[in-house]
């Protein structure tokens, strides 16, 4: 039987690992070598259903590497798995890269571009970080890239380059603004979610939205009419 704990935070699962390298070559010790202990303290851990996350890409299994052993080296340890939240310690946070950017609207100042020579325009378009502007040989003009690289759109690199090369009045040679709706507020954003492999990104987004909803629901329940003359 599994031990009942009062809070999730007290839940512990014990694993054991014992590996000896008898080969001549170096050996990787991975999470696949972890074995569930038969018992923890005085409670049995059979059928608890906890195992290291198996991360597979296509046909390959990629367990997490813990250590590497030379010939005749061995490793023996006990490991305790505990549940936790990213707020308690960053080791429990499954998110590794979360990026929010508004959708950019890129506009070139064609009047000012006419003031520059073809060679100057070409040089500027080619020196800018790729992903925002491109050079069109047929019409000898700078054009906005079809697929904008959002990572650099708002960085200001192209504007800075224009200012340094041609002077301060050319700083608005290209203007990048967020795409706004009728009310003047940005209405489109890009959100990119990267996890460290413990969860997949879709589950992470679902869980985040659910957790936020739960927080607001719990708050609503706390508004008691008895003590609050406003309610």
């Amino acid at each position: 039987s599994l031990r009942l704990v009062e809070r999730e935070a007290d839940c512990e699962i014990k694993f054991e690992l014992e590996v000896r390298n008898t080969d001549d070559t170096a050996m990787e010790v991975t999470t696949a070598h972890l074995r569930l202990s038969p018992e923890h303290g005085d409670e049995s851990q059979e059928d608890c259903g906890v195992q290291p996350v198996e991360y597979t890409v296509g046909e390959d299994e990629l367990p997490v590497v813990i250590a590497k052993l030379k010939k005749n080296q061995s490793l023996k340890l006990t490991a305790i798995a505990k549940k936790g939240l990213g707020k308690m310690h960053a080791k429990w946070c499954p998110a590794s890269g979360i990026v929010f950017t508004y959708e950019p609207v890129v506009r070139l100042h064609y009047e000012k571009l006419e003031q520059l020579t073809v060679a100057q325009r070409k040089k500027w378009a080619e020196e800018c970080p790729p992903g925002l502007l491109k050079w069109n040989d047929q019409i000898n003009q700078v054009e906005v890239e079809d697929e904008i690289n959002i990572g650099i759109a708002f960085s200001g690199e192209c504007e800075k380059l224009a200012k340094d090369t041609f002077g301060a009045e050319f700083m608005d040679l290209v203007v990048v603004k967020p795409k706004c709706g009728d009310d003047g507020m940005p209405n489109r954003f890009h959100f990119s979610v990267e996890t460290n492999g413990a969860l997949d990104p879709v589950t992470l987004v679902r869980a985040a939205l659910w957790e936020l909803q739960k927080k607001f629901t719990d708050m609503e329940k706390c508004l008691h009419p008895e003590e609050n003359r406003f309610l």
Partner: protein, 123 residues
């Protein structure tokens, strides 16, 4: 030696309550709400949503100390509403937005998976 347990950043202690309501005695139609074990994650959206309400005169939040997970939310309204009603409305609007986001996200994920399986079958 004096460090609190890390679980205390998330879970309420037995003597703590989630929300404490304090009516403001000096200002009319104003109230303070102290939320324990909450931070900018709920504070900022609540504040932004309250400010979208035209009958809210003042809405602000702060975390008095970074080592204590407490958040104070101050709301001042003008008639016809009152702070608690404004807060309930704000919470409901935010919940609806999140539900909407959830549904749209599921739709988009299903669309993407169908596209993927359709293109996989083309081979």
């Amino acid at each position: 030696m004096n460090a609190p347990k890390i679980e205390e950043r998330v879970f309420l202690l037995p003597e703590e309550t989630k929300m404490v309501f304090e009516e403001d005695t000096k200002i009319e139609n104003a109230a303070n709400y102290v939320l324990t074990k909450e931070d900018h994650t709920v504070g900022n959206p609540l504040r932004m949503q309250l400010l979208r309400d035209p009958s809210v005169v003042f809405a602000g939040y702060r975390m008095p100390h970074p080592l204590e997970m407490k958040m104070r939310l101050k709301i001042q309204t003008k008639p016809p509403t009152n702070p608690s009603l404004a807060l309930t409305d704000a919470i409901n609007s935010l919940k609806n937005e999140l539900k909407h986001l959830d549904e749209q996200f599921e739709q988009a994920v299903n669309q993407f998976r169908e596209q993927q399986s359709a293109s996989a079958m083309d081979y």
